[in-house]
């Protein structure tokens, strides 16, 4: 498995407990529109991602991240 697909797998795993609506998640899935997360859910999810990858995802960066794929790209960049 490539680094990117490993990152994607981890992200999907982290999304699962927050996916209360049981939406089918792909790289194109958007956090606000498709998963319908409120700000507190986002905070908890981001905290879990930060712990998992040992990075900081600032609000400035979050503003640029709308979809699962964009999050994976951002994480790849942060890890590099």
């Amino acid at each position: 498995m490539s680094d990117r697909s490993q990152t994607l797998a981890k992200v999907l795993e982290t999304i699962a407990p927050f996916n209360k609506k049981g939406v089918e998640v792909t790289e194109a899935t958007r956090f606000a529109q498709d998963l319908e997360w409120d700000s507190l859910t986002v905070l908890d999810f981001v905290a879990n991602i930060e712990d998992e990858f040992d990075v900081i995802i600032s609000m400035n960066m979050q503003a640029e991240i709308e979809s699962v794929g964009q999050l994976v790209d951002a994480l790849e960049k942060l890890k590099a």
């Binding site: 507190l40 905070l43 905290a47 930060e50 900081i56 600032s58 609000m59």
Partner: protein, 400 residues
């Protein structure tokens, strides 16, 4: 043409739906006369004020009013200028000296509002490539200060010491760090574990700003706030506060011992590019601040009021924001906006004013009836207030 106002449609609709139920608009109340810090006339009716932040009841203090009148006559109605041009009068300096004495700090900078104090200090000291680590429940003025600047913004879960520490440790080496905390969080009236949070911040090389807007004058032995009460005020780099609560007028400030603090007067845009406070306002503020230093008796009575209201409301069956009273704010949690608005109106009809607070100002989408007590509420008034809550709660079905 795209109507730029169409983005407000959901809010307009929510508001229309609420008002169609016939409830009085909770965000459009007019105080027709104000008799004292605790009583006003609203819709022709005598109303006890329980949502003013006028914690120490200084708004009608005879010394404060006299100082304002004298300054109004001697210095005129306004300065018509920026603090760095023609807008610094002796009164502004005297007000800053009063703040230095009140907090026992070297420097004080007075802004035209508390909002501008946070806006100015935060946006100016945290620049590009610096990190601001802040509590998720921070006041709008703190978030707006972050938005005005260029720093990286990192929120952490409310009052969570571990979450703060984890984020501090992940900030890249060499980046500047500013931790922003509040002494009292105004929505639920809970206080921060400043002792632990400041220790963690210092251990990780961060500067610390504490907003003590809702604790000044009341919490701590000398009324300096939660940081004083927890014995860590000497480790705070910047305290931000307001004149529109315990001080009883309007304006904001920042106090600090930082040796280079004074340079902010030249580089802080919300300080430079706005008119300074009117002479009468800084005169009332300075007088009030000096009187607050010596108000231990009033502080004690305010604690008694808060404890009594908290216990009484719990006994009636209301759900409150904190298990114990931690400040002069007691938040009653309502099931939803409709119930909150109905209860708010029922209380007003009984002759009691409280704040109706709703998202996005509130955490976790809560609707709150927020009560803030005053040191000048008498024991009888607190009894009256509890009677009104009982009647309104039963009339609206909020309690049985």
């Amino acid at each position: 043409m795209t109507d730029l106002f169409s983005k407000f449609d959901p809010l307009i609709e929510q508001r229309d739906t609420l008002l169609k139920t016939g409830v009085t608009d909770p965000f459009n109340l007019v105080m027709e006369r104000v008799e004292s810090p605790t009583v006003a006339i609203c819709n022709g009716k005598r109303t006890i004020l329980l949502g003013t932040y006028n914690y120490m009841g200084m708004t009608f203090d005879p010394d404060v009013i006299a100082a304002g009148q004298t300054a109004l006559e001697e210095f005129g109605s306004g300065t018509t200028g920026s603090r760095v041009l023609n807008g610094t009068y002796v009164g502004h300096r005297a007000c800053e000296e009063a703040l230095c004495d009140f907090y026992a700090m070297d420097h004080a900078m007075v802004f035209s509002t508390g909002y501008q104090a946070n806006l100015g200090i935060i946006s100016t000291i945290a620049g590009k490539d610096d990190y601001i680590i802040l509590d998720i429940d921070s006041h709008a003025s703190i978030y707006d200060g972050c938005a005005l600047g260029n720093a990286q913004i990192v929120p952490f879960r409310h009052n969570d010491i571990d979450a703060l520490e984890k984020r501090l440790k992940r900030v890249p080496d060499g980046a500047g760090k500013l931790v922003v905390l509040e002494g009292v969080y105004s929505m639920l009236g809970d206080i921060a574990p400043l002792k632990e949070m400041i220790a963690v911040s210092k251990a990780n090389g961060a500067m610390v700003l504490v907003d003590e807007a809702h604790s000044m004058g009341f919490i701590g032995e000398r009324g300096r706030g939660v940081a004083e009460a927890q014995g860590v005020i000497d480790d705070v780099d910047f305290i931000v506060g307001t004149f529109s609560k315990s001080v009883g007028t309007v304006g904001g400030f920042c106090v600090s011992n930082h040796p280079k603090f004074e340079i902010l007067r030249l580089v802080c845009r919300p300080y430079v590019f706005t008119a300074s406070l009117p002479p009468s306002v800084v005169a009332t503020a300075a007088t009030s601040i000096r009187k607050l230093m010596d108000s231990a008796g009033k502080r004690e009575h305010l604690w008694e009021n808060s404890k009594r209201l908290h216990a009484g409301l719990r006994q009636l069956g209301f759900t409150l924001g904190t298990d114990e009273p931690q400040s002069a704010i007691i938040a009653v949690i309502m099931p939803d906006l409709e119930a909150g608005a109905a209860m708010w109106e029922a209380l007003l009809n009984e002759g009691l004013y409280v704040n109706l607070a709703r998202p996005p100002a509130t955490p976790a989408g809560m609707t709150l009836l927020r009560c803030s007590l005053c040191a000048l509420h008498s024991e009888e008034q607190v009894g009256e207030i509890l009677g009104m809550f009982a009647a309104a709660g039963r009339a609206t079905g909020c309690i049985s």
